[in-house]
């Protein structure tokens, strides 16, 4: 919060109580800005959100599976949906062919960390992110148009195409978050801290 910094020199009474070493060091006192003294505990602006309002917008999915909706999908259905809704930007099989620039990101590659381009197999650390992202933002020309079952199916297809799950796996809220992605072990949290070190 905004505070004014005011230097107050310690009065003689206080000095007596302090050790000689610190006696002549000015004490820094933080005074609040005058108007913040008037601040109420609550302003009373805004209104309670209803459970329905929250449910309508709360579409996020966490790596622990929180937020995964009911429904299910499989690789076979996902392959058909991919061809209909995704292939026009991400390529027939999701891979980047030499000399051909895809309108969208390549999605399928091997799972080796050093391989390029960055794909789901080598660069996506959590399977839940696939579901979350596709449901909110894909396909690019009709965002938010996929049903939950369709998102599960396309997720299954893409994970299988990247050799992360088997072809007969049926994905749902109980198992999607348990899929371990090959790239997860590569990710580290930011270790820069400012200061002289170049990181």
């Amino acid at each position: 919060m905004n505070k004014k910094t005011v230097l107050i020199f310690a009065c003689p009474v206080v000095l007596l109580l302090m050790s000689l070493k610190t006696a002549f060091v000015p004490i820094q006192v933080q005074l609040p800005l005058t108007d913040s003294l008037k601040r109420p505990a609550k302003f009373g602006f805004g209104r309670p959100a209803t459970a329905q309002e929250i449910a309508a917008w709360d579409i996020d999915v966490r790596p622990d599976g929180k937020g995964l909706p009911a429904g299910q999908g499989d690789v076979k259905k996902g392959r058909v949906l991919y061809a209909q809704k995704c292939a026009m930007c991400h390529g027939v099989d999701g891979t980047e062919k030499p000399g051909v620039k895809l309108p969208g990101n390549a999605l399928v590659g091997d799972t080796s960390a050093t391989s390029k381009p960055k794909t789901i197999g080598n660069y996506w650390p959590y399977a839940t992110t696939l579901f979350d992202y596709m449901r909110r933002a894909m396909p690019y020309n009709l965002p938010g148009s996929l049903s939950n079952d369709e998102v599960y199916s396309i997720t299954a297809y893409l994970l299988n195409a990247n050799k992360i799950i088997k072809a007969d796996v049926v994905l749902d809220a109980k198992n999607l978050y348990k899929v371990v992605m090959p790239a997860e072990k590569l990710f580290i949290m930011d270790d820069r801290k400012g200061g002289p070190e170049i990181k």
Partner: protein, 417 residues
């Protein structure tokens, strides 16, 4: 009614051009080392009115409702399909005019009725609440000047590059809004909450997870930019402002905040906005490290022999600029530049250095030290620290300009071995 542009018509009919698709998915903001110059949208040529020899003899037009730039001054953003860049070489101080603020969108600019826009805050809170724009404006307001910089703001590759081409994805505004802590106090935050998800109401419904400490520190929800309502391309009617954090996290068209014990690992914080560091991938890299660039003289400007005031901007996502040094001998020696007061935290800071150019071919460079003691690195130092496979995010190397004998100024593109 204004007729819909070609692009708008396509959008309105649900059709989509290959160009839009192309742009939408290629992260041009993130094309660093192998730069991409295609796909730039040409700017319209200005119309210069007829000029009389003696303006004192003709009464000019009267006042009008909306000001315009002189037709002789045409600073323009350089736009691709997904981003546009601030013409830093045309700026004389640190505030970016709102119509020149850089843009980076992930699914275009949404049209939002401010009367209908609401912000939902829920999750680990005492009272899940909705706030209208009018509610948000009623809270105690704060004004702050700071920069916003895209994390993918480095391009190189050829000598004919302007500051705008190299790092035009940084801009500065005076923002007004409410401290996020004020709003968080209103809903009541659970002690268990360690992170919050911020979500936009664009077609990407863009999300990022932010550590809760930022909310109690200096995060804001802003509705004004340089004194007026923020521009649609900057998040109208409200955006999150996280001073010093990478641009992508400053969620525009903000509609929802969810408090959580753990991060959401959204697409933008995992498969994007992360970068290789040796054999690992660094994520949750929020603060932008200190950086500077000489904006005058720079390409395509020319200099004449004699006194040249070298000018530029320096900034740090970690606090104030402590000092800026300038070299006019290709980095052999460095001299202190003057800093324009006031020097603000997490803000573009203007610097100046007087140089008597004798006409010799040389290179001029600037380097900044921030208040944490961090000295802006060279590209070589970044490669040493992170490995040659740099990705494109959080690149802040020293920029060198070549001065030729005839006064021509060219960028010095460096290659990574």
């Amino acid at each position: 009614m204004k007729k819909l542009g070609n692009k708008d018509q396509k959008r309105a009919t649900g059709k989509i051009s290959r160009r839009t698709l192309l742009g939408g998915v290629i992260a041009a903001a993130v094309l660093p080392v192998q730069s991409l110059f295609a796909d730039e949208i040409p700017n319209e040529k200005p119309i210069i009115p007829e000029i009389t020899d003696d303006p004192t003899k003709i009464v000019g037009p009267g006042p009008g409702p909306l000001g315009k730039r002189s037709p002789f001054e045409q600073p323009v953003r350089k736009a691709s399909d997904i981003s546009s860049r601030t013409p830093l070489q045309d700026m004389h101080s640190t505030i970016t005019p709102a119509d020149l603020h850089f843009e980076r969108h992930h699914a275009g600019i949404p049209s939002i009725d401010p009367a209908k826009h609401e912000l939902l805050i829920h999750g680990l809170v005492e009272n899940p609440m909705k706030f209208t724009l009018a509610d948000i404006k009623r809270f105690p307001s704060v004004t702050r000047t700071c920069f916003i910089e895209c994390a993918g703001n480095f391009r190189t590759g050829k000598a004919e590059m302007t500051p705008q081409d190299i790092l035009g994805l940084t801009s500065q505004s005076e923002w007004t809004g409410v401290m996020l802590s004020t709003i968080f106090n209103e809903v009541g935050i659970s002690d268990k909450a360690k992170w919050f998800l911020a979500e936009g109401s664009d077609a990407a419904v863009m999300t990022r997870t932010i550590p809760i400490a930022k909310a109690w520190d200096d995060a804001m929800i802003v509705y004004a930019q340089n004194g007026e309502a923020i521009r649609p391309e900057q998040g109208y009617p409200i955006r999150l402002l996280l001073p010093g954090f990478e641009g992508n996290m400053n969620i525009k068209w903000l509609r929802r905040i969810e408090l959580s014990e753990e991060p959401y690992m959204t697409r933008e914080e995992t498969s994007k906005y992360t970068y290789p560091v040796k054999d690992k991938i660094r994520m949750f890299s929020f603060e932008l490290d200190a950086r500077s660039i000489i904006t005058y003289p720079s390409y395509p400007q020319k200099v004449n022999k004699g006194w040249v005031e070298i000018r530029g901007i320096a900034w740090s996502g970690r606090g104030k600029v402590e000092k800026v040094e300038v070299s006019t001998d290709a980095g052999k020696t460095w001299q202190l530049a003057n800093l324009q007061e006031p020097v603000l935290s997490k803000a573009h800071t203007y610097f100046r250095y007087l140089w008597d150019w004798k006409g010799e071919a040389t290179e001029i460079l600037s380097r900044v030290t921030d208040e944490t003691g961090y000295l802006q690195p060279t590209l070589t130092q970044l490669v040493e620290a992170r490995g040659a496979n740099l990705g494109g995010y959080h690149m802040n190397p020293i920029t060198a300009w070549q001065i030729k004998n005839d006064g021509t100024v060219l960028f010095k593109p460096e290659t990574i071995k």
